[in-house]
């Protein structure tokens, strides 16, 4: 399998707190993509970080990538109740064609 920690993890925090979600992968990837899936919807991409980037920001989101330890993180600052969702990271296979998704983190932000 591509992934280290595969089981769906769960986090519950208070609105306004910051949160960081981590994932690790086993094989080389050119990009890591982070997706968010809200209840009853399909996943939607939040941020894409390439192997030559260590950090990428988008609004309240910050993604990091450490290719030496084959790990990535997604941080959300000043969480809102609307950030409640499952967050997935995904890597690209050698051919650069398809994504492999991790198990995800279920984030609940309490208002």
């Amino acid at each position: 399998s591509q992934w280290g920690e595969e089981n769906l993890q769960a986090l519950s925090i208070q609105e306004g707190e910051d949160v960081t979600m981590n994932c690790s992968y086993k094989t080389y990837t050119t990009v890591v993509q982070w997706y968010r899936q809200k209840s009853g919807k399909g996943p939607a991409q939040l941020i894409l970080i390439r192997s030559n980037e260590r950090e990428k920001r988008s609004g309240r989101l910050r993604a990091t990538l450490d290719t030496s330890s084959q790990s990535s993180s997604l941080s959300i600052t000043g969480t809102l109740a609307t950030d409640t969702a499952v967050y997935f990271c995904a890597t690209v296979n050698n051919a650069g064609a398809k994504l492999t998704f991790g198990g995800g983190t279920r984030l609940t932000v309490r208002p």
């Binding site: 399909g42 996943p43 939607a44 997935f88 650069g96 398809k98 994504l99």
Partner: protein, 114 residues
Amino acid sequence: DAGVTQTPRHEVAEKGQTIILKCEPVSGHNDLFWYRQTKIQGLELLSYFRSKSLMEDGGAFKDRFKAEMLNSSFSTLKIQPTEPKDSAVYLCASSPLGGIDEQYFGPGTRLTVL
């Protein structure tokens, strides 16, 4: 622009039935993916098309699962015969250029097999 559309949104089938799920990708996208999503297994790739050609047919899924891309704007996923373990959410996604690019997901079809 219209996103990825999937029909039906919900499907209930009896064991042994044949069901067909439908997907319309984003116009102009070259790649189309079918996934199965369950709480235990997470997101699993079933099939992958590039420019209407089947690139991957999902390995362990291929005996009862058949995806087709009839034209660049329409794809189907047939499950025949259905089994209770097929109960899951089936997601369709499309992408302009494959894995290095963003995948746009539809809302999914929730299948329940009794």
